[in-house]
Amino acid sequence: MRATHWLIALSLFVLFLSGLQIFNAHPALYWGNASEFDQPLLSFGGGDRAFPSWITLPAEQDLAGGRRWHFFFAWCLVAGLGVYLVANLSRGRIGRDLLPTGNELRGIGRSALDHLRLRFPHGEKARHYNVLQKVAYLGVMFVVIPLVILTGLALSPAIDTAFPPLLFIFGGRQSARSLHFFGTTILFLFFVVHILMVVAAGPINEMRSIITGWFAIRAVPDPKSTNVKQVHDSD
């Protein structure tokens, strides 16, 4: 499980950097089937590089190289997601751990406020995903990543020929390209918040739990117990 997290993370990382390289080849977005060059939806960089070399893969302008990285790690992402989904669905983990309850959804405002104040659940509650995590993880896994994969496929003239409804769903190939970019932007924002939360919640402990499954919980003051540290396997 944790291995698939890191395979997915690495794949998304490479896909992001090489995707920016590919985007630099024509840094403008359009809506519809084709590109009306004088009516872009968004246009970056005034014809120059939109994204600087330190964030593209390869660093220098190299569309062919960027495409090779992108297509190889697209398959790595598919492999990571495949194993993740099969393992989690077969063990019922997604329903058990990730589906928020009605009560939790009603408390989502409160939870958001607590997170903004960097007040995180402690004790028993820290063992489970809280409602914001559940909504974010489910949204990324079942909405944003599938959107990015499907819009990516819709960019292929061969796949469009094999599955014409793909173009219909997204409103045309250039719309699909724009949605691919916006979906990636959401994934990037998720990544930023995800990292900030790990750091704010105590990076050493969190990283240990993500890598090894072991983590420490700061106990809530409990008169019946003197435990200050419990160690558990999350998986």
Partner: protein
């Protein structure tokens, strides 16, 4: 450590790790072993999309979808003396040569190409850079021309040799060329186009004759075609990768 210091520390470490990873990735891209691994995705993609796609036709659009401005990419006017002379004469002296592994080599004028079976299609062209444009194309289906020439059994690819020379090398000009396999050559939408949007094909778009290969990206669609040959392998042509852009690192199979 205070939280701020810890955060700064972690952020600095992450940035340094990302930087190190990026420069490592650049070294990896230029290493041929890694290049080979990365390129392995191409054959998977080719096999898979060929299986999914079969002989289906690329989407054709209504006339209302035709792009007001169709971008001309690559060479927009070949600068060779012989091409210029042909163009001045409206390509009346142009002859398409069909040779290589064929029973009856052909030399066809534009009038003869126009007299051959024709097909008209309004299709979308996707450039490898990311943009798309739609136009109406009219031309001779490649398959019927190849049948007229009669392919020899060893023929596996069709190579297109063009009038444009987009680059220079130490040995002189590097001519544009492209290769496709027989599966694509005989696809009904694969045509040698001499008309675009009901007009004679403009020079910027490949006059007098260009390839339309609707299920792949624009760089496969050779412009300014002078000669085509049926061949068994493209390993001995120029860089050996099967095309001008392929020799510069792009995939031979450009379906994605």
């Amino acid at each position: 450590m205070t939280p701020i210091n810890r955060r700064t520390f972690v952020r600095g470490t992450l940035a340094a790790a990302a930087g190190a990873c990026l420069s490592a990735c650049d070294r990896l891209t230029s290493s041929t072993a890694i290049g080979g691994i990365l390129k392995s995705a191409e054959s998977v993609n080719r096999t898979l999309s060929r299986t999914l796609i079969g002989q289906s036709l690329a989407r054709e659009y209504p006339a209302s979808a035709i792009s007001a401005h169709f971008r001309a990419n690559g060479t927009t006017e070949p600068d060779s003396e012989s091409y210029r002379r042909m163009a001045e004469n409206q390509f009346a002296d142009y002859r398409l040569e069909i040779g290589g592994l064929v029973e009856n080599p052909l030399r066809l004028s534009l009038a003869e190409l126009r007299a051959a079976p024709t097909r008209t299609q309004i299709t979308r062209q996707d450039c490898v850079e990311g943009w798309s444009c739609i136009a109406k194309w009219r031309g001779a289906p490649l398959g019927s021309l190849l049948n007229r020439a009669g392919l020899k059994p060893q023929a596996r690819y069709i190579a297109f040799f063009c009038a444009d020379a987009p680059a220079n090398s130490l040995e002189g000009k590097v001519q544009y060329y492209e290769t496709i396999d027989l599966n694509d050559a005989y696809h009904p939408q694969t045509i040698l186009a001499y008309e675009m949007n009901d007009q004679t094909l403009p020079i910027a778009h490949g006059a007098p004759l260009r390839l339309r290969l609707e299920r792949q990206l624009g760089y496969k669609m050779a412009k300014y075609i002078m000669r085509l040959e049926a061949i068994e392998s493209f390993a001995s042509i120029d860089g050996g990768q099967g095309g001008y852009w392929e020799d510069r690192g792009y995939e031979w199979y450009a379906g994605i």
